[in-house]
């Protein structure tokens, strides 16, 4: 048990450090998937099988692939000669070390380390999917509905944000010429809209 914990912790932390420090972004995404897999192993070790497999499905299956797509779409997979760290990297590292120091001190000085009840897991059967579904449909039904609404709104919002904004006026730069060729069919709408606006004003 101790050895499994040590192996999983080392795998997760090393791949997280690699995901944050490698130069090639595609390697970063692969290391990130490895870190997510280590976290899923933690969940399985702690007896939360449903959360562990949800982690595998959502994070390794969806989020990591989404990040790979974003890396390829923004062409940042090709290595650049520029430095990978921003100008204020020293401050960032200092803040991260400070945060970890505060957290570790809080954990070590709390009663969690001295309370003998918290030193070992209470033995109990693992929660079944049946139990989780029952709770989701009874006690947590309102959060479930809100999450459904949030996911729908996020999916529509992501599509709208990432959509090409063709057809909008007042474009500058090289794409303006391309859109100006589309303006004559739209001018009817525009003139009728301004006509209506004048009618409303009068």
């Amino acid at each position: 048990m101790q050895i499994a914990f040590a192996i999983i912790a080392a795998l997760t932390l090393v791949s997280a450090i690699a995901a944050m420090s490698l130069r090639n972004l595609v390697h970063c995404a692969l290391c990130l998937a490895l870190a997510f897999a280590g976290l899923a192993a933690f969940y399985l070790q702690l007896g939360a099988a449903f959360a562990g497999w949800a982690q595998v499905l959502v994070y390794i299956g969806a989020v990591a692939i989404l990040i790979v797509f974003a890396i390829l779409l923004t062409r940042s997979g090709e290595g650049t000669p520029q430095p990978i760290l921003s100008r204020s990297w020293g401050v960032g590292i200092a803040i991260a070390v400070l945060v970890f120091g505060v957290l570790a001190k809080a954990i070590m000085s709390s009663s969690l380390t001295s309370n003998s009840l918290l030193q070992k897991m209470p033995s109990k059967p693992e929660p079944t999917v049946h139990q989780i579904g029952d709770q989701l449909m009874t006690r947590y039904v309102l959060p479930l509905e809100i999450i459904g609404l949030l996911l729908t709104a996020a999916a529509i919002g992501a599509v709208i944000i990432a959509m090409k904004d063709a057809g909008k006026g007042q474009l500058t730069g090289p794409r303006a010429k391309a859109t100006q060729m589309e303006i004559p069919p739209q001018s009817n709408n525009a003139s009728s809209a301004s006509h209506e606006l004048e009618e409303v004003r009068s």
């Binding site: 995901a19 970063c28 997510f36 702690l46 939360a48 949800a54 921003s86 380390t113």
Partner: protein, 103 residues
Amino acid sequence: MIPLHDYLIVSALLFAIGLAGALTRRNAILVLVGIELMLNAANLNFIAFWRYSPDPEALTGIMFVIFSIAVAAAEAAVGLALIIAVYRHYKTVNLDQVDSLKG
């Protein structure tokens, strides 16, 4: 048996790694990756506290993690769409160059 604070220390380390990455990398995608790592560290805390709690039958920690995973998926989708929109406008995702709100 592994004591609870070992999990908490691993989670705090993961949070610090994510924070360092989010604050120091130049690429906007890597900043989003750092935020995801921080969210995952919080999830690990939830699961560990749930497992060591005196009443694990309530399933509170698992429920919180499931909802948190759903919110994180929505956040990743919208965040990456924003990064693609920024790339289309500036032709770069380098955060040192994307420094003006004016279009």
